[in-house]
Amino acid sequence: MVQRLRWLEAISGTVPIVLTYAYFPALIAEPVATIAKLTPFVLLSTVIPLFASGAPPANILYSVAVSSTLGTALLYTVAVLFGAPVTVLFSETAGLSLHCALTSLLPALTYTRPPTLDRLQRPHALTEWADGSYGYIIGTLAGAYAGCIPIPLDWDRPWQRWPVTVYTGACIGLALGTISEALYDLYTIRSKPKTAKPSSKAKTN
């Protein structure tokens, strides 16, 4: 039976930000190379709780494959639509998109197949599909978007260059999101003492 281990997800959700903090100067100096270097660890730390939760390895493999290819392409498009540079800095945006896909789409896809085109057009389609992985998705994507805020400031610092703040924001968002999800879980368990069932779901489409 699949049982999401929120506490493990919270711990592994802090790995990217710790790594980013440790490698911050390298991230500023050579963003693409550093993101590439950190990606395997990000992947590892995201995938461990998924295995530990009892999800079928086939599912996990599937979502790794999809999120690192289609998912990355999708998030790249979204990033451009939301203001990422269009004609320059392709590797930077690609690295950023890959990272975000791994920490947002990968966990969600493991437990829920992506919605069909038909279902997608119904109201609240996205929130329904994302249910259960809010911490990952909202944390990563909102954090990344919040990371855009320092960019227009005229401080002219090297860390204001694309994609440093957005990447860092995504990592911070991930940590906050997974921790909040775990705390929320704790709160709902505590407030329902008799029903010991945790709030994880094993939904399929």
Binding site: V80, L81, F82, G83, V86, T87, L120, Q121, R122, P123, H124, A125, L126, T127, Y145, C148, I149, I151, P152, L153, D154
Partner: protein, 710 residues
């Protein structure tokens, strides 16, 4: 629901803003009143007559670059028969404050930028300090002036002969200069009577506003100006030979222009002007060390401040340096003077600057004198203005809460207001709004599902935001309008026109033909007008036809967005036409989305928070004679064309909430902005960033006010 509350809130905001503006844009009190006394004892001044030629928007490269079509000037530079400078103007780079600097040598207040626009205002002269024109006049000399009538406002009754031209009829750049040059035949005669001649040419500035510095009209204008210089120079030499007096010829720009041809801000293009002096003895010998020929970006030959021109003129004419001048006599000029005389000039300059500095009491005042800034704010007025606006905003907020309005729309103006405390977020305000539009679109898409219409909305907005770069930091980056070739732009404009045409023909089946025909005719008129025939009647006909199409009593009329689209097309440049069908495509329904799009669409047209971004090119469609009201209204419609579009859609979608919501955004924001300006009034950017933003905010307050009460 036009409740009286809306009127009250609006009234409070307007009164508060007016009081704040009075305290913020205080007229610069002259530091020293009166006139300086001559200090050169017994030494004859090198020159007895002066011709000042001001070429409006005379950017330095338009004179000095190799490609600049100024053969006479270049020949003089080659033979070293001229003192050539690049004079750096200070902000705001609009005519009135720059002319004040060219006569007083001082730095004037930001308010002059506003007075620059109000042609009939007389306070242009009221605070005029000691200056060389008044000194000449007081000494009984005869001065003639031809050109920009700003001079008449600055010096009423001073000029013996004059022919002023209005500076705001931007469409014309030939007749306005011809009106000046036609007097030259008489004024350049050997028996001319003047001691001072001021010529102010506006043609180059108008070409800039209409089509930018690279316009095909510019070379001809440069040659025209060059020829004027040649004629005046030769005539002056002839007259000098006849009566043994000497004429000084000073040619300068008042400000420069951006690559789009506008001005008002502080970029290099706007502040670097060409300034050169011709006259007997003003030449450099071959072995003399000189800056002539040197170039660094837009700085050619000898770099000086615009203020330095005044002490130079004073020295060469034997006049005392005006009391409030912050200028220093340029070394290139000093070197041309008789050594004993030069000594006196230096001493005089030093004494004058010292006495100016002495006027300052506290170190802060002294710093302001040294910086040339006019930070003379009246704090009581600022605080009262903010307080009154705060009351209005609080009333708006409480009405909103009482009407169970969404908290998001209460939080938005607070967030928006918070951004006013960072000058970057004012300069790059477009980023803030594009950011918020995307958030609004995400909220909409999560509620409604990922339909193709929503996806299209995202893509449409993506194109909209990339059409024009704006702001300061990335203004020079590529944008769609810059990347597309001219034929592509034309093709897109035609496609956009066709889209609106089909909208008029096919939308709202219940509308009668009688309603559609005037709109179709109006569209046809727009097409004719934009093709370049420029007939004023056609443009006016558009407005008449649109009014006819909206007359009551003929059944339902076309959607207001469709009808307004015709006005939109009339009042915008063709390169922007692509925006309109894209905006029609966007499908939004929340207050947040509309509020954000009202602002974002303003910036998407290339507008921004700098004065230089004000586009005057559409403000004269259908105008024959300059009238501040008509031109002002056309300028308003053309600048706020897209926000008006979104306001109409907002009204259609959210009729119950849009009025109060709009007013809520506006009042809370202006309160914050005024608070930020007060707290940051000694900030380095108070005149280059905050002051222009206050001016724009007043225009926005008018916009939101109209949205709320009409």
């Amino acid at each position: 629901m036009r409740s009286p509350w809306l009127w009250l809130i609006l009234l409070l905001q307007i009164v508060g803003l007016a009081i704040f503006a009075k305290g913020f844009f205080a007229l610069n009190k002259p530091v020293l009143a009166g006139s300086a006394v001559a200090q050169y004892d017994g030494l004859h001044a090198p020159f007895q007559r002066i011709v000042l030629i001001v070429i409006d928007a005379f950017r330095s490269d338009l004179a000095y670059a190799d490609e600049a079509q100024m053969p006479y000037l270049h020949s003089l530079i080659d033979s070293r028969d001229v003192l050539a400078f690049t004079a750096r103007a200070s902000t705001p780079t609009v005519t009135l404050p720059r002319l004040k600097c060219l006569v007083t040598g001082g730095i004037s207040s930001f308010l002059d930028a506003v007075l620059n626009i109000a042609e009939s205002d007389t306070s242009a002269s009221s605070a005029l300090q000691d200056n060389w024109v008044s000194q000449l006049w007081a000494a009984g000399r005869r001065i003639h002036m031809y050109g920009d009538d700003t001079w008449l406002r600055m010096f009423p009754g001073v000029f013996a002969q004059t022919d002023g031209t209005s500076s705001f009829y931007v469409n014309d750049f030939t007749e306005v200069d011809h009106n000046v040059t036609r007097h030259l035949e008489q004024e350049l005669r050997l028996d001319a009577k003047w001691d001072g001649l001021i010529l102010h040419y506006l043609g180059m500035d108008h070409i800039g506003h209409l089509a930018g510095p690279k316009s095909p009209h510019m070379p001809a204008k440069q040659r025209e100006m060059d020829d004027v210089v040649r004629r005046v120079h030769l005539a002056s030499q002839a007259r000098d030979r006849k009566d043994q007096k000497r004429t000084l010829l000073v040619v300068t720009g008042d400000h420069g222009m951006t690559e789009q041809g506008n001005h008002g801000g502080s970029t290099d293009g706007e502040v670097m002007t060409a300034a050169f002096m011709l006259g007997h003895g003003l030449r450099e010998s071959k072995d003399e060390k000189s800056n002539v020929g040197k170039q660094d970006g837009l700085v050619y030959h000898n770099p000086i401040l615009q203020s330095d021109i005044v002490p130079a003129i004073s020295a060469l004419l034997g006049l005392p340096i005006p009391l409030n001048s912050v200028g220093v006599v340029p070394i290139a000029v000093l070197n041309k003077l008789d050594p004993k005389y030069a000594d006196q000039v230096l001493k005089g300059n030093r004494l004058q600057l010292e006495s100016l500095a002495k006027q300052a009491g506290t170190p802060q005042e002294l710093q302001q004198v040294l910086l040339g800034s006019s930070g003379d704010f009246r704090l009581e007025l600022l605080v009262v203005g903010i307080a009154i606006q705060a009351i209005g905003a609080a009333i708006a907020a409480s009405r909103w809460v009482k009407a169970r309005g969404s908290l998001l729309m209460l939080g938005l103006p607070l967030l928006w207001g918070a951004t006013t405390f960072a000058s970057s977020f004012i300069e790059e305000e477009h980023s803030f709004w594009y950011y918020l539009v995307n958030i609004a679109l995400v909220i909409e898409i999560s509620k409604s599902g990922v339909t193709s219409r929503r996806a299209l909305t995202f893509v449409a907005f993506f194109v909209i935001r990339h059409l024009h770069q704006t702001g300061d930091k990335y203004a020079h980056h590529a944008d769609l309008a810059g990347l597309l070739s001219l034929p592509t732009v034309r093709a897109l404009a035609i496609l956009s026109f066709a889209a609106i045409l089909s909208l008029v023909l096919t939308s709202s089946p219940g509308v009668s033909l009688a309603r559609r025909v005037p709109v179709l005719l109006a569209l046809q008129c727009v097409a004719i007008f934009k093709r370049g025939t420029g007939s004023h009647q056609i443009a006016r006909l558009v407005w008449a036809l649109i009014t006819v199409s909206l007359l009551p009593g003929l059944g339902p009329h076309l959607p207001l967005t469709t009808v307004f689209s015709v006005i939109w097309l009339l009042q915008t440049r063709q390169v922007d036409w692509l925006l309109l069908p894209l905006m029609h495509t966007m499908d939004v329904s929340t207050d947040l989305a509309f509020a954000a799009l009202v602002q974002a669409s303003f910036f998407s047209m290339g507008n921004g928070n700098s004065l230089a971004r004000l586009d005057l090119s559409q403000a004269y469609n259908g105008v024959l004679r300059y009238s501040p009201t008509v031109v002002g209204m056309l300028l308003f419609v053309s600048t706020f064309a897209s926000p008006i579009f979104w306001a109409i859609r907002w009204r259609n979608a959210r009729p119950q909430t849009y009025r109060l919501c709009a007013l809520l955004q506006s009042t809370v924001y202006t309160t914050f902005l005024c608070a930020a300006c007060t707290v940051l009034r000694h900030h380095l950017f108070v005149f280059s960033v905050f002051s222009p933003k206050v001016l724009y905010a007043v225009a926005w307050a008018v916009f939101y006010g109209l949205v709320a009460v009409t």
